[in-house]
């Protein structure tokens, strides 16, 4: 039986008190609850504080480039559908540098779970605004305060027909680990935008700030209604909802791919003679 200890990783390099710890804990818990062994799981991360996470776990890890989590995860999942592939990274990683992949991975509905540690700031590079920083957020590079509007990943994902759109936060490990389990079990692309205090660089969106605002979507809330989901996703300010905003069953990318009909790619025997009939047609 797999236990939390099986997922014990390296010594962390995060600031003591950082929200990242909660996410790490919730992820381990979810995987153990799902009875997944470390070798069955692949975490793909980028570069940033969040993206260091897989080193603090113990499972297959591809810690790639800043912003390129999703394409690596996509390639890995296509090659080996048997792996549970989880993307992990920051708001800069996924919504800044990696914005284009975010759009198009949603369109593919490939069976990957994406955890975005949304601390609304660039942590590792020391505190610049991120796409999710609030207008007015002041940093050394934004001394007059952010003047662009804030990136709402949830409404954007809903607008793109994402099949699983959710939010949690690092301060509620039970909720987050429940959500991760739902997301991993969902067949298709699952987004979990995780609100996370950065105690060092985001003095606005603190633990307390979130604590005062966050509430769970009501039991009655119906995550099957896209328009309602869009509306809900727009809610932000004094009250911040968490939970599954939208969920839809639809075929995944790999389900449909002709090229996978012969079975998982990585299990296929490589057979040069395959090309003989093709060469024939050239004569």
């Amino acid at each position: 039986m797999v236990t939390i200890d099986d997922y014990q990783g390296q010594v962390t390099a995060w600031c003591p008190g950082c929200g990242d710890f909660g996410i790490l804990q919730a992820l381990k818990k979810a995987l153990v609850d799902l009875k997944l062994e470390p070798h069955q799981v692949l975490i793909v991360s980028g570069i940033g504080q969040a993206s260091k996470l897989p080193h603090y776990m113990k499972c297959n890890t591809f810690n790639g480039l800043h912003g390129r989590i999703l394409p690596v995860a996509t390639g890995a999942k296509i090659a080996n559908q048997e792996l549970v592939v989880i993307g992990v990274g920051g708001d800069g990683d996924n919504y800044g540098e990696g914005g284009n992949h975010f759009l198009h991975t949603i369109r593919r509905n490939i069976d990957i779970t994406l955890l975005v540690h949304n601390n609304r700031v660039y942590g590792l590079t020391k505190g610049q605004a991120s796409p999710t920083s609030d207008p007015g957020f002041i940093s050394k590079v934004q001394p007059q305060g952010v003047i662009s509007s804030s990136f709402n990943a949830l409404s954007l994902a809903i607008s793109l027909h994402a099949s699983f759109v959710s939010r949690s936060w690092s301060g509620d490990i039970d909720h987050l680990s429940w959500l991760i389990k739902e997301a991993v079990q969902h067949k298709g692309f699952s987004l979990i935008d995780i609100l996370q205090p950065c105690i060092t660089f985001n003095k606005k969106n603190t633990y307390r700030w979130y604590k005062e605002r966050i509430y769970k979507l009501a039991e009655e809330y119906d995550p099957a209604n896209r328009l309602a989901a869009f509306k809900k996703a727009e809610e932000w300010g004094d009250k911040i909802p968490i939970g599954i905003f939208y969920r839809e069953k639809k075929p995944t990318f790999a389900d449909q791919l002709f090229g996978l009909k012969k079975g998982p790619l990585f299990r296929q025997r490589l057979d040069p003679s395959q090309v003989m009939p093709l060469l024939e047609t050239l004569s």
């Binding site: 890890t61 999703l70 090659a79 090229g259 050239l282």
Partner: protein, 577 residues
């Protein structure tokens, strides 16, 4: 005299030159001739001026010629542009009812292409089939073979289209035989060569990938590399592979790296602009030691440049691309046959050394068709360099990036029970965890760079033809081989003491070999499709030796053997402005 003639079909984009040029090529190829066909097209879908040029020869042929025997002019511009290329006895086939050509009429073969097309096929769209039939008519060659080829080429579009094309071609054939009997070249008899394939560079690269067991390919469309994903996507179902069009080139290469990490042979194909966007992830492959094959199909730059034209302007870029230092291999196939085998080898080298391997193609190679003997697929060996389950079971403490003598660490795949595979774009320890330790950083960098030695031992030195120890050495790389080879044969025939040193594998650089060849020659000329002489620059960096002169061309058009000889007579140039 043995057969050697050139047929050129010119017209606007959208007039179907590619299709009929291919059909005609196939007809000759099937008839036992050697053949080289190249394409020149604009970056537009309709209009403008494109051509398809076929050189047919009894003896092996390597490149096109500047002189044309039969010019099929589907529009007036073609006549204007290409008339000067016509041989003394050359003819122009054109539609006199639509194009008005002045000048010496003796070689102007007006054929009512459109009228015959309408009469026989019911649509003027069949004009070019009429023209093709006409061309065959003037050669008095067997019509049956063309008919069969047309059938094969158009079969997907339905029986009626097939029939109409054949009828149109037949009409052209008959018209020619009837009206221009005197102009007929000496009737063509079948060539003596045994059965050949007719294959383009892009097809050969794609087939090489499939033969090597490439299971994942991702790309963003970009001329002249698009043909590769097109080919592979077409075979995906049949052969069980995935060819994915990515949202951009950055995604394409990162997907391929992900797929490779997860255990399949993976490849990307692009051109210079797309490769620019892949540069960061090239370093990722280097750092994480993930095998990867990249086809970089060069076109004329800088920037968007001439998007549909050829060049060899990316060599030094590819050699040094990405920050920091890590080993890589660079191949530059010289012919379509080479193209096939280079991909096969690239996958083996990539996996054996866990490095990126880059294949430099270009528009000229990608789009040209050549006849060649069927590839002997039984010679394809697949060496994966992945440790077996049995070996893995013996390792207690599996570490993806273990320090080893060769620099090659044991590569396991994720998902094997009891082992986990970890890697990182940051500098990392043997396990793959990120590390900032000075000692580890030093050792890990050395471990990676050590692989250069093994890699170097894989490299074939440049081919020297016909033999070493000549007074003059021509030097080339990649797709210029054809023109160089043709030039060489002419020069040798003229009694010149000259040889060709041609690179098909460029990096790690075979410095010693090259140095010794150059030491023996009195004069050396580096022939490159670029403006600065990049291979010459690398040769000097690696051997200290400077070539006597460079013969360069950078207008987007390939070399002809005639051009090379002309420039050689001028003494080449140290290109300075």
């Amino acid at each position: 005299m043995s057969v050697d003639f050139t047929l050129k079909i010119g017209g606007e984009a959208g007039q179907g030159m590619q299709t009929i040029g291919y059909a005609l090529s196939k007809t000759f190829a099937r008839s036992g001739f050697h053949l080289f066909a190249n394409q020149d097209y604009m970056s537009r879908i309709r209009g403008g001026h494109n051509f398809f040029q076929i050189r047919v020869k009894e003896e092996p042929v390597y490149a096109s010629s500047e002189e044309v025997d039969i010019l099929i002019a589907l529009d007036k511009a073609t006549v204007e542009m290409h008339r000067p290329e016509l041989k003394e006895k050359g003819v122009i086939i054109f539609d006199g009812e639509h194009i008005d050509i002045s000048g010496e009429p003796s070689h102007l073969l007006s054929v009512p292409l459109e009228r015959l097309a309408r009469e026989e096929g019911g649509n003027k769209l069949f004009s070019n089939s009429v023209a093709v039939g006409g061309a065959l008519g003037i050669l008095a060659y067997q019509f049956d073979i063309l008919a069969q080829v047309l059938k094969e080429v158009f079969v997907k579009r339905g029986e009626e289209i097939v029939e109409n094309n054949i009828k149109a071609a037949r009409a052209g054939y008959d018209f020619m035989q009837k009206n221009y009997k005197d102009f007929c070249l000496s009737p063509l008899r079948s060539g003596r060569s045994d059965k050949k394939m007719l294959i383009s560079g892009n097809e050969a690269l794609s087939l090489g990938a499939m033969a090597a067991g490439c299971k994942f390919m991702s790309a963003y469309p970009m001329t002249p590399s698009t043909g590769i994903i097109t080919y592979l996507a077409g075979k995906a179902k049949q052969c069980g592979l995935v060819a994915e069009q990515a949202e951009d080139e950055i995604a394409a290469i990162n997907m391929a790296i992900g797929a490779s990490f997860a255990g399949v042979r993976a490849m990307v194909a692009t051109s210079g602009g797309g490769f620019s966007l892949m540069v960061e992830a090239l370093g990722l492959a280097g750092m994480t030691e993930t095998p990867l094959v990249i086809i970089e199909a060069q076109r004329s730059g800088p920037s968007t440049g001439l998007p549909t034209r050829t060049a060899q302007g990316d060599l030094e870029f590819v050699l040094h691309a990405s920050q920091g230092e890590f080993p890589r291999a660079i191949f530059a196939p010289a012919t379509v046959e080479d193209a096939f085998w280079s991909v096969v080898k690239a996958f083996n080298v990539a996996e054996k050394y866990q490095v990126p391997v880059i294949i430099m193609s270009d528009q000229h190679l990608a789009d040209s068709y050549l006849t060649c003997k069927k590839f002997d697929v039984s010679k394809v060996k697949i060496e994966r360099g992945i440790i077996s389950d049995a070996e893995l079971a013996k390792i207690k403490d599996y570490k993806r990036h273990r320090f080893t003598q060769s620099g090659i660490s044991p590569r396991a795949l994720p998902s094997q029970e009891g082992r986990i595979v970890i890697t990182d774009s940051d500098e990392h320890d043997e396990e793959g965890h990120l590390s900032e330790d000075l000692e580890i950083a030093n050792k890990m960098a050395q471990k990676r760079l050590k692989k250069r030695q093994g890699l170097a031992s894989e490299i074939e030195p440049p081919k020297v033809y016909p033999h070493e120890n000549t007074e003059i050495v021509l030097i080339g790389w990649g797709s210029t081989y054809g023109a160089l080879r043709e030039a060489l044969d002419v020069l040798i025939n003229k009694g010149m003491d000259v040889s060709l040193m041609h690179f098909q594998e460029i990096w790690p650089f075979p410095a010693q070999f090259v140095s010794s060849i150059l030491s023996k020659a009195k004069k050396s000329f580096c022939v490159e499709n670029n403006a600065t002489g990049q291979l010459a620059h690398i040769i000097r960096a690696e051997t200290g030796k400077e070539v006597t002169a460079k013969i360069l061309k950078f207008d987007g058009r390939p070399f002809s053997w005639q051009y090379i000889i002309r420039e050689l007579k001028k003494g080449g140039k140290r290109w300075s402005l």
